[in-house]
């Protein structure tokens, strides 16, 4: 269970990105974060694994206060939380295989990773994860030779190497075309359904959110303005989240 308690983030420039955000996520949920650009979705996701340091408030995961964790403990927590990014964030010049293996860095001793030495078991695991996302045949290509959708699948395989119990996905399909978006979302959904990994995923399109989320949390100017089931978002709610002038578009 993940508890967010009164989370605030004020950036050095004075931008108040999160204002007293509180909610609880049960294990196995598929939570979709929606909201306009700049509403605080990315900041919220990054505060959970402290890529962004919250100004105040707490993030408590299974009774452990992440916000109070010392550096070494934080790393042990982070390795159980997979993260997927809008820009995939692969190391472009490295092979797909190495990129996937980096997901294991939190588990291997420092000297071994410095020599870029990986055990047969780790390589087998990486190959299995690549197979799972359907691109095992691309393992030895350079990461930047792959298409956007394939790169995002490499990123999913990398997150799987962590054997995560929670996945944070920050706009995972915003850089992809609609068809590829669905294929990537299906892989994330499968992790949630089959492996029981809790997913918190921010999305641009409400239609995608309705389709994949079991629960939707909407942010506006750093506040939670909606927290409930997808079907509860009607026209009035929609305008509350996205503003009076917004029109819902379908993505199929």
């Amino acid at each position: 269970m993940l508890e967010i308690r009164n989370l605030n983030k004020i950036y050095p420039g004075g931008v108040h990105a999160l204002k007293d955000v509180s909610f609880t996520v049960e294990d196995g949920e598929f939570v979709v974060l929606i909201g306009l650009s700049g509403s605080g979705k990315s900041t919220l996701l990054r505060c959970i694994n402290r890529l962004v340091e919250p100004t105040s408030g707490q993030v408590i995961w299974d009774g452990v206060d992440i916000t109070a964790a010392a550096p070494s403990e934080l790393r042990r927590i982070r390795r159980q939380i997979g993260m997927i990014f809008q820009q995939f964030n692969l190391v472009k010049r490295l092979s797909v295989m190495t990129n996937v293996l980096t997901g294991r860095l939190g588990y291997v001793p420092a000297w071994r990773s410095l020599l870029n030495y990986w055990t047969a078991e780790e390589k087998r695991m990486a190959m299995a994860n690549l197979e799972r996302v359907g691109i095992a045949d691309q393992a030895w290509k350079r990461a930047d030779e792959l298409s956007g959708g394939q790169q995002q699948r490499v990123a999913i395989a990398r997150a799987l190497m962590q054997q995560p119990r929670l996945i944070l996905a920050d706009e995972p399909v915003a850089s992809l075309d609609p068809a590829t978006s669905h294929s990537v979302m299906k892989y994330i959904l499968e992790l949630n359904r089959r492996d029981g990994i809790t997913v918190i995923c921010s999305l641009h399109f409400l239609s995608l959110a309705r389709q994949y989320g079991t629960r939707i949390i909407a942010l506006r100017d750093g506040h939670i303005v909606f927290d409930g089931k997808p079907e509860e978002i009607d026209d009035r709610r929609f305008k509350e989240i996205y503003g009076e002038e917004a029109v819902e578009v379908e993505i199929r």
């Binding site: 890529l51 490295l94 860095l105 990773s113």
Partner: protein, 387 residues
């Protein structure tokens, strides 16, 4: 039509006018003074163009091939003062005859006549003092009959007094036999190899030191913590100080420190390379995509692991490009550090010039032109292939 017609000219402003006049006056004063202190004299440039002629002429005929040098020497013994019952008698050697008039005493002017010598041959006349030193007097060339007549003022001995057995020495010299590669070419080639390796060593040491340091000078890696920021500013400060001192000045410093020779040159180029490369490397690190750093950090990797997997792969191509660029600069600079005693080709170049051996200096200069442009081309080619 009540509308005001828009003014086509900017309205006059006294303040602006005064400001412009003052600015102009200051500029005039600055340039007049600058002209004076730098002693600019365009007249000399045109008037003394003849002085540069031998240098330019010799530059286009470098001493690449030479023949064996041959010489013949004939000496006339010249006593001061004249002994009693002195009978003037020409000196003879190898069939040559050297007559000196007057043949003794404190004459002001002396005439020498050489006969039966090798025709059309250069000759130099030297005065031999009793203490054993020689002084060059005149040069000439024998005619087609092998004769030469020269007049000169008798040199006055400054040390050791006038009394004693002086001498008039005439040396005939010419080149003979097949052409062969000159010693100059061998020396220059030798020094050129030294120069290239000087650049190689300096670049290598530069890379070895600059690479690890550059990570401490990268804003994006260091600014995350307070102590990191302190280290960042310190490292940057040291880079800037080291870099602001020119390589030639470092060379002078190291010549004093480790003595004249290529090692001083290596050290001078190394210091400057470390500072320059570290700055370029740091900037390469600062311009990487931060995405992978975020992603690798999120996996629970340590700081060092993040740098190795997210930063290093991204900076390899710019690092290689900057290293080749620096190697290029170092080859050029290594030809110069010799001027102040830092070894390499510059060292012999300045010696040839000081000895007025322009044809030899020309060999060194052409060697520099060829090697530097070859390195330039090579580094461009490698950069294109790798990056």
């Amino acid at each position: 039509m009540n509308e005001k017609t828009p003014q086509m000219r900017r309205p006059f402003s006294l303040k602006r006018f005064v400001r412009n006049v003052v600015f102009l006056a200051v500029a005039v004063v600055v340039y007049l003074y600058g002209w004076k202190v730098t002693e600019i004299n365009l007249g000399v440039l045109i008037r003394d163009v003849k002085d540069i002629k031998p240098l330019v002429v010799d530059l286009v005929r470098p001493e690449l091939m030479v023949r064996e040098e041959q010489s013949r020497l004939i000496t006339y013994e010249y006593p001061i003062p004249c002994p009693e019952n002195f009978q003037p008698k020409p000196a003879e050697a190898m069939g040559m005859q050297l007559e000196v008039k007057p043949g003794c005493g404190k004459a002001d002017e002396i005439t020498v006549t050489l006969r039966n010598a090798r025709p059309n041959t250069s000759a130099r006349v030297e005065w031999h003092f009793p203490i054993g030193t020689d002084q060059l007097l005149v040069q000439g060339t024998t005619d087609e009959n092998g004769s030469l007549r020269l007049r000169f003022k008798r040199p006055v001995a400054t040390i050791g007094g006038e009394k004693g057995l002086h001498g008039v020495k005439i040396t005939l010299y010419w080149e003979e036999g097949p052409l062969r590669v000159s010693d100059t070419v061998k020396t220059v080639a030798d020094k050129m190899v030294e120069t290239v390796f000087l650049a190689l060593m300096a670049t290598t040491f530069g890379v070895i030191f600059a690479m690890p340091i550059s990570f401490f000078g990268a804003r994006n890696l260091m600014m995350t913590t307070k102590w990191g920021a302190v280290v960042y500013y310190l490292v940057r400060l040291v880079f800037n100080i080291l870099r602001s001192v020119e390589t030639l000045i470092w060379a002078v410093i190291f010549v004093v420190w480790v003595g004249i020779g290529p090692f001083a040159g290596v050290m001078a180029l190394t210091v400057h390379s470390v500072a320059a490369l570290a700055k370029l490397y740091s900037e390469a690190i600062e311009s990487i995509d931060p995405g992978p750093i975020e992603a690798i950090t999120a996996t629970g990797a340590s700081r060092l692991q993040t740098i190795i997997y997210a930063v290093v792969p991204q900076v390899i191509p710019p690092f290689i490009a900057f290293t080749i660029y620096r190697w290029d600069i170092n080859v050029r600079m290594s030809t110069v550090v010799g001027l102040v005693g830092g070894g390499g080709i510059g060292y012999i170049l300045i010696q040839y010039i000081n000895l007025l051996q322009y044809r030899r200096a020309a060999v060194a200069m052409w060697a520099i032109v060829i090697v530097v442009s070859a390195m330039d081309y090579l580094s461009g080619y490698v950069r294109e292939k790798i990056v």
